[in-house]
C-alpha cells in the first residue's frame, strides 16, 4: 500500500478514535456512568498508535524519497543529507502539525497511564474529554487544511531526469540545532495541554481543592523546562545560522514562544502560594488556561502569516481554523471561570507584603506585565493599521525599553524572594539572610567595573545578577547541608538551580547587548585586521560543491589560532543564497564572522563582518543549567509531612455529582 494512502488512513483512524472517545466520555459523564469514561481511555492508545503510524509513514516516505506524497515532493529532495532529511518533517506546516499531534497523543497516553487507577473519577473523565477534544482538533487539521498525505504525480523533467523536490528551506538545513529545536519546543508547548485539561476539569467539576494542582504539578514543570530549553535552542540556532550577530530580535514568532513561557513561569510560582496557603485559586486556573491559549495563539501567529516575521512561513488556510479554536478555548474557559469563579475563591488573605506569598504576588504582577508588554508590541502594528491605516513596525527599542525595568525588578525579586519566610518577615531576619548575597552582588559590580564595564544598565544587571545568584546558591548550600544530596533535588532546590541558569542568561544578555562591537573589513589574502583586541587574518578562500549546495568559504584565523570558515552557500534548487556565519566562542567573548561579499578570483579581496560580543556562550550554558535544574526539580525531594501545619490542605469537598448537569 502506498505511503500516502496508509498515512491518510492513519490520520482518519486517529480522528475516529478521538471522536468516538470523546463521545463515550460525554455520554458517560452525562449519564453518570463512570465505567464508560474509564473504558473510553482505551481509545487513547488507538489515537496514539494512529499518530505514530502517520509519523512513521511520513518519515518512511521522506527517507525513501517517495515523491508520490505531495509533502515529500514539496519539501524533500534526494540531495538533502540524512539528518536534515529526517528533520524535513517539521520544516513545513503539515509535518509540524503531524509532529505536534504525535507529541500530544504521547502526553495523553502518559496521562491515562498515570491516572489509570482513578479512571472512573469524573475529574479525570473531564480532563480526558478535554484532551480528546484538543487531539481531535489537530487530527481535524490534518484531515482538512493541513493534510500531510495529499498525493502527487511526479513527472520526469523534459530532458528525462527523474523528478526531484526542492528540499527544505536552506536556512533549515545548515545547522544541526534545527533537528532539535522544534521537537523540544513542541514538547514544551504541547505539554501545557495536560495542566489545561485538568484546569478545565477542576472548573467543571467544581472541585476546588488543590488535588488537580498536585496531580499536574510535575507535568507543568516538565513542559515549562522543555519550553525554556526550546526557546534557548532557538536563540542559539538563529545566532549560529542567521549571522546578524544577534540571537533575539523580538520577532513575532519568538514572542509567540516567549508569551506562554512568561505566563507558565508566573504559574509555577503562584501555584506554591495555593499549595501552602490555599490562595490565588482562580488566578492559578486562569494562568494555566492563559498559557495553553497562548500556545495556540502563538501557533496562529506563526502559521497564519498575519504578522510580518523573519520566520516567514508559507501561508495556508490553517489560520482561520486555529483562530476559531483559540476563540472556542477563550469562550469555554472564560465562561467556566465566570460561572465557577466565586465558588472557588478562598477566604485567605496575604498577611504581609514582605513575605514569600507577597513576593510571589509581585512576581506574578511583573510576569503578567511582561506578557502584556510583549503581546501589545506584537499585535500593535495590527491595531494601528485598523485605526489609521498606517503600516508600522514595533522593534527592539520598544521591547528593550519596556522590558528592561521589568527584568531588573524580576532579578531583584529573585534575590529577595527565596529567603523570605511565609506569612511575615522581620527586618533583622532579612538582613541576616541577605548579607552574603548582597556582598556577592556588590562584588560583581566592582569586578565588572574593574575589568572595564561601563554604563549603568549593564552594571546594575551584573550587581542584581550577583545578588540573585548569591541568594540562589545560599539556598542550595543550606539545603545540602541539611539534607545531603537531596538538597539538590525537589522543586524548591531544583528551582534554585533554575534561578542560577536564569541569572547566567540575564547577565550574558546584558553584557552581550551592551558591549557589542561590530566592524567590516575588506581584506586581501594574507591581510589582517584588528577589532576589539582581536586579530583577524584572511588566509584565502575555498569553493566546494555538495549534493544540495555550493559553498564559498573564507578561511579567517582569529588571534593567530585556528582558521574559522564563514562563507556563502548557494542552494540552486531553492534558488536561495544564504550566509554561513562562523563563530569562535570562548567563555569570555565570541567572535562571530560572516562574509558579506565574495572575491571573483582567489587573489581578490573579501568583505568580512566581525561581531564581538562578550559572554554570549553563557546564554547557552544558562539554558542548559535551567534544563538541568528543571530535571532536578521533578525528582521528588524531601517529603513534607502532610500533618505539618504549613502544608495542611484545605478540606476538599467530596465529589457531589448533582451540580454537574444543571447548576441551580
Amino acid at each position: 500500500m502506498s505511503n500516502a494512502a496508509f498515512g491518510a488512513g492513519a490520520v482518519a483512524l486517529g480522528m475516529a478514535c478521538a471522536v468516538v472517545g470523546a463521545s463515550i466520555v460525554v455520554l458517560g459523564l452525562a449519564g453518570r456512568r463512570p465505567r464508560w469514561f474509564a473504558e473510553a481511555t482505551t481509545l487513547v492508545f488507538g489515537m496514539f498508535a494512529a499518530a505514530l503510524a502517520a509519523f512513521v509513514v511520513m518519515e518512511r516516505a521522506l527517507i525513501t524519497r517517495d515523491f508520490t506524497v505531495a509533502f515529500v515532493a514539496e519539501h524533500g529532495s534526494s540531495r538533502t543529507p540524512a539528518l536534515f532529511n529526517f528533520a524535513t518533517l517539521w520544516s513545513a506546516l503539515e509535518g509540524s502539525i503531524l509532529l505536534w499531534t504525535l507529541i500530544l497523543c504521547g502526553y495523553v497516553v502518559a496521562v491515562v497511564l498515570k491516572f489509570r487507577r482513578q479512571g472512573d473519577d469524573p475529574m479525570v473523565g473531564w480532563a480526558v474529554l478535554t484532551l480528546f477534544v484538543v487531539s481531535g482538533f489537530f487530527f481535524l487539521l490534518m484531515l482538512s487544511v493541513a493534510a500531510p498525505f495529499n498525493t502527487f504525480d511526479p513527472q520526469p523533467l523534459a530532458d528525462g531526469t527523474p523528478f526531484d523536490g526542492p528540499g527544505p528551506n536552506p536556512l533549515l538545513q545548515n545547522h544541526i540545532l534545527m533537528a532539535f529545536h522544534p521537537p523540544v519546543l513542541y514538547l514544551g508547548y504541547v505539554g501545557f495541554t495536560v495542566p489545561f485539561a485538568f484546569a478545565i476539569s477542576a472548573l467543571v467539576t467544581g472541585r476546588v481543592g488543590e488535588g488537580w494542582l498536585l496531580a499536574t504539578r510535575r507535568w507543568t514543570v516538565m513542559a515549562w523546562g522543555l519550553l525554556s530549553l526550546g526557546i534557548v535552542l532557538g536563540a542559539w540556532w538563529s545566532y549560529e545560522t542567521l549571522g546578524w550577530g544577534g540571537y533575539w530580535a523580538w520577532d513575532p514568532v519568538e514572542n509567540a514562544s516567549f508569551l506562554p513561557w512568561l505566563t507558565g513561569t508566573a504559574f509555577l510560582h503562584s501555584v506554591m502560594v495555593q499549595e501552602r496557603r490555599g490562595m490565588l485559586r482562580v488566578w492559578n486556573l486562569s494562568l494555566v488556561i492563559a498559557t495553553f491559549s497562548l500556545t495556540i495563539l502563538g501557533t496562529f501567529i506563526t502559521r497564519s502569516g498575519v504578522l510580518q516575521s523573519v520566520h516567514a512561513f508559507v501561508e495556508s488556510g490553517i489560520g482561520p481554523a486555529i483562530l476559531t479554536f483559540f476563540g472556542l478555548i477563550v469562550i469555554v474557559s472564560l465562561g467556566l471561570i465566570a460561572w465557577r469563579g466565586d465558588e472557588l475563591r478562598s477566604p485567605g488573605r496575604i498577611d504581609s507584603p514582605i513575605s514569600r506569598e507577597g513576593a510571589f504576588l509581585a512576581n506574578n504582577v511583573l510576569f503578567a506585565a511582561f506578557a502584556f508588554v510583549v503581546l501589545l508590541g506584537t499585535v500593535f502594528p495590527l491595531i494601528v493599521e485598523v485605526i489609521d491605516g498606517r503600516t508600522i513596525s514595533v522593534g527592539n527599542p520598544y521591547f528593550d525599553q519596556m522590558t528592561m525595568p521589568i527584568g531588573f525588578a524580576l532579578l531583584f525579586l529573585m534575590a529577595v524572594a527565596p529567603v523570605l519566610p511565609w506569612r511575615k518577615a522581620s527586618g533583622d531576619l532579612l538582613a541576616e539572610r541577605l548579607i552574603w548575597p548582597a556582598w556577592i552582588g556588590a562584588a560583581a559590580m566592582v569586578v565588572s567595573l574593574l575589568i572595564g564595564a561601563r554604563g549603568w544598565a549593564p552594571t546594575l544587571a551584573f550587581g542584581l545578577g550577583g545578588f540573585a545568584g548569591g541568594a540562589a546558591l545560599r539556598q542550595v548550600v543550606l539545603a545540602t547541608r541539611r539534607q545531603g544530596w537531596r538538597g539538590f533535588v525537589g522543586r524548591t532546590n531544583g528551582g534554585m538551580i533554575v534561578h542560577v541558569g536564569v541569572v547566567l542568561i540575564a547577565v550574558a544578555f546584558a553584557a552581550s547587548n551592551a558591549y557589542v562591537r561590530q566592524g567590516e573589513f575588506t581584506l586581501l589574502p594574507g591581510e589582517t585586521a584588528e577589532i576589539a583586541g582581536h586579530t583577524l587574518t584572511y588566509e584565502g578562500s575555498t569553493f566546494r560543491e555538495y549534493s544540495n549546495r555550493a559553498e564559498w568559504t573564507a578561511a579567517v584565523s582569529v588571534d593567530g589560532g585556528k582558521a574559522y570558515e564563514p562563507g556563502i552557500a548557494v542552494y540552486p534548487f531553492a534558488s536561495q543564497t544564504i550566509g554561513i556565519p562562523s563563530v569562535r566562542s570562548t567563555l569570555f567573548d565570541d567572535v562571530a564572522l560572516s562574509v558579506l561579499s565574495f572575491p571573483e578570483t582567489e587573489e581578490d579581496d573579501v568583505i568580512l563582518r566581525a561581531t564581538i560580543q562578550p559572554l554570549v556562550v553563557w546564554l547557552w550554558i544558562g539554558g542548559l543549567v535551567m534544563a538541568f535544574g528543571t530535571l532536578l526539580a521533578v525528582i521528588p525531594g524531601k517529603r513534607r509531612q502532610p500533618t505539618a501545619p504549613t502544608s495542611a490542605r484545605l478540606p476538599e469537598p467530596e465529589y457531589d455529582p448533582e451540580p454537574l448537569g444543571v447548576d441551580a
Binding site: G305, V306, E315, R345
Partner: protein, 182 residues
Amino acid sequence: MIMQERQAFWIVLPVAVALGLLVLLLATGDPASERNNTFQLQGEVAPLIEGPTIDGGWFDIDDERGRWVIVNFFSTSCVPCIVEHPELVAFSDAHDALGDATVVSLAFDDRAENVVKFFQDNGGSWPVLAQDTGEIAVQYGVTGVPESYIVAPSGVVVGRFIGGLTAAALDDAIATLTGADT
C-alpha cells in the same frame, strides 16, 4: 454583597471583551504579504532625489521624466544587495539602448569609498548617490535594504520591491504598469 457574589463575572467581562477584540483584529487583518503591496507613496509624486553622484556628476530625478526610473536603495555590505546587483546591471544594459528606463542607486548607511569600489568591482554605470541619502530613504519609507521603487514616466511612484529583485521581475512589473500609467 451582590457585587461580591458576581465578582468573577465582572472580572471576566472586560477580559472577554479585550480578547474578543483581539480575535476580531487577528481575523480581519490582511496577511502581512498582502499589506506589503500597498505602501504610503503608492500613486504619489516621487520624493525629490537630487545630489552628486559618485562619478562626479549630478542627478535630479525630475530630469528623468518621460522614462521609468528604478530607485534602488542598497548597501555594499548586504548579501541580498550583492546577489541582486547583476540583475540590475542586466536590466540597465538592456534598457540603456532603448532609453525607456534607468536605474538610480542610493547607498544606504554606507561609506562613499566602499560604494565606488563596489561599482568598480561589480559593474553598473547608472547614477549612484552615496552622500546624504538618509533623508531621502526616510521620505521613501525604506524599511531595509535592498528595496526598490518603480517611478513611472509621469514621475509618480507606482511600485515597490522589498528584498532582492530580478531583471525579469522588473520588466514584468513595468509591462503590467504600462497600461495603468497613461
